[in-house]
Symmetry: C2
């Protein structure tokens, strides 16, 4: 408890609804911005990539590695998973998620909407909310716009997300997309009314722009959500299997409608080389399971492209995974040894691979941020030469 409390934000930085966003630089030619996002658990330099810690742990990493080796300032956790196991009430009784998982810095929790739609085979959406069966034991549960705020209040995350409906790709009919989008707007309104009944000083709540792949519906949704005067805005329903051009197009349509002075979060993106594209379109926050999941599957991102480590060409490769990277893995181990660990199914492979991939993502964002602050972002975007770090396909 003490280490968590000791690191909370100084009281002289006042937060409004859990946040204070400080815009530091804006690229005059693109939408790219650099800023500082102050939360009750520290300040986050944006644009930022948030490591995903689904079940209250970024798979394969200790909190010490996240903090000291990667200097991650914020991680993401999943309300759906933590609600089912170990349960939000238990976590609340421990003083919240930061204390339970011993992560002293910021946490964003998603509402669980995406997981309900992707993991639960049996679910039913009504105006009231979504009824679903646990993928763990089949138990039936109901998520409402209000209850997911309550669950996240129990978790004590710095940034909470509203319950939304996330549609599959390709999307259903325009009529159904519109109905779903309108429900997401109504749910967001209910969530915010509920949220504002309580002390909002240490937790922010973001609504989520939906509308599938329709520019018209995205615009309509964004404009409606602006009425909430939320502390920040997210763009959801992307990264569901659509072509990359569509995800970027939907982002590009939406960000100019969102308030300049508030953080913007695109959920679930992206590949290493896509991060800069989202930043160019005015996005401040991103998350994706790709760095950790791909690492565990033996796919490592480097400044020289993807390394599929099981490949026999690495059998006697003495070189570092990425000579341009200064992570623990690249400073110490050969590709040959990493391949051996992968083939032998050793835990250490997941640890070293995740450490590297995550560092690769965070370093890309650091370089992008630096280029914005130095006024060099257009050049970086044009050349795609993020130092030597962005992987090529």
């Amino acid at each position: 408890m003490s280490s968590v409390s000791a690191r909370t934000l100084d009281s002289n930085h006042s937060l409004t609804e859990g946040l204070r966003f400080e815009l530091q630089a804006q690229c005059p030619e693109t939408g790219a911005r650099a800023g500082l996002l102050h939360t009750a658990h520290g300040t986050i330099e944006t644009p930022v990539f948030m490591p995903v810690g689904t079940q209250g742990t970024v798979k394969g990493l200790t909190p010490a590695q996240l903090e000291r080796d990667l200097d991650a300032k914020i991680i993401l956790s999943n309300t759906y998973h933590l609600f089912l196991r170990p349960g939000h009430e238990l976590i609340r009784d421990f003083g919240g998620l930061h204390e339970y998982i011993r992560w002293p810095r910021a946490i964003l929790t998603d509402s669980g909407g995406f997981q309900v739609f992707s993991l639960s085979k049996i679910r039913k959406v009504t105006e009231q909310g979504v009824v679903f069966h646990s993928h763990l034991n089949g138990d039936k549960h109901l998520f409402t716009p209000e209850s997911t705020v309550d669950v996240q209040r129990a978790l004590g995350s710095d940034i909470m997300m509203v319950l939304d409906e996330c549609l599959e790709y390709p999307p259903p009919s325009m009529k159904e997309v519109r109905q779903s989008m309108q429900r997401t707007i109504r749910w967001a309104g209910q969530a915010f009314r509920h949220y504002r009944h309580f002390d909002t000083s240490r937790q922010a709540l973001f609504p989520i722009v939906q509308g599938a792949m329709s520019a018209e519906l995205r615009v309509e949704c964004a404009e409606k959500l602006l009425e909430l005067n939320a502390p920040g805005y997210a763009i959801g329903g992307l990264s569901v299997g659509e072509p990359r051009e569509e995800s970027l197009a939907m982002t590009e349509i939406t960000t100019p409608l969102l308030p300049r002075e508030k953080p913007r979060y695109v959920m679930g993106v992206g590949k290493p080389e896509e991060l800069i594209e989202y930043v160019a379109r005015g996005v401040d926050m991103m998350d994706c399971v790709m760095p950790s999941r791909n690492a565990r599957n033996g796919c490592l991102f480097t400044s020289e492209g993807k390394v599929i480590i099981k490949n026999s060409r690495y059998r006697d490769d003495r070189g570092a995974l990425d000579p341009a990277c200064s992570c623990y893995t690249c400073r110490n181990f050969s590709k040959s040894y990493l391949r051996h660990l992968f083939l032998a199914g050793e835990i250490l492979f997941s640890v070293l691979g995740t450490l590297h991939n995550m560092r690769h993502y965070l370093d890309i964002m650091r370089r992008i941020r630096q280029s914005i602050l130095l006024g060099e972002f257009p050049e970086l975007l044009r050349t795609r030469r993020i130092a030597t770090v962005v992987g090529t396909e």
Copy 2:
């Protein structure tokens, strides 16, 4: 390479056949001894427990955690596994195992005999050696007394073991045990002749006393092996399923026959509370997969006994796993969170559990060693109160 070289032993400590053993204290009432075992990769304080790194990694731990968090001075690796994958020649071409796995301290390798007998379903022992089929792909291989020395020379381990025949429990007829033991003696002779053809200055070779559960054969084997004037001696063929009393009895019969001025290693033992028993019988070195394997299975050793972490009693347990332990796991996390990680199948559980169990073993040995140096070993043995660390069944 540089970090390995930088840490090799100062040249003013001369080694004979890879070792220099310095006896520091001997308990006047028991067989317990404390010493310093100098190797080409640093000095090991004995008695010592060696973490097992079967395939070139102590499962779940980075070399940095082994070195900084646990201060392990020596680990064990398996010739059988490394021979099959990635291959000893590849490791030799990398400059040896220390460099390949980036472990700058000492390494002991077993000969592979035990694994051939426990992992390979199809095998045939002849006077020449043992023919076996790889458990990975069925490929046929031959281990001879000479070839296993060659493989370990390629690995560059600080302490190598001779090829021996490890019998099952209950053992076969006395006649068969005697034949096997005599073959092990002949093999040891061949291994030593082969070993001494080469530069022995940086690698030791230990013969292994066999003889199943027969005191007579153990004595006969030990006396024969003394003729080798080996740099150290091991006791093998224990921990194969026999009652603890038998393992201790076989040890107690053997150690007084071994040279006082040389290190003694009992292979494959033991439970936390057994370590002191072996030390009392004059053993300096031990290894066992128990701390790491049990950790992965959710069985954690503490000063208050075993913790089966999945147990529902730990669901909301805010306490540290072991309040008497100062490892990273115990300093930071609750039993409730550890249980959550275990039930969720998270890698972090294996990491944190292994870190703790290994620390528990190493701390027990540190306390035992300290008691010998202070002349307090008999009291420790009588009360079994290794500070508050030895687990009770």
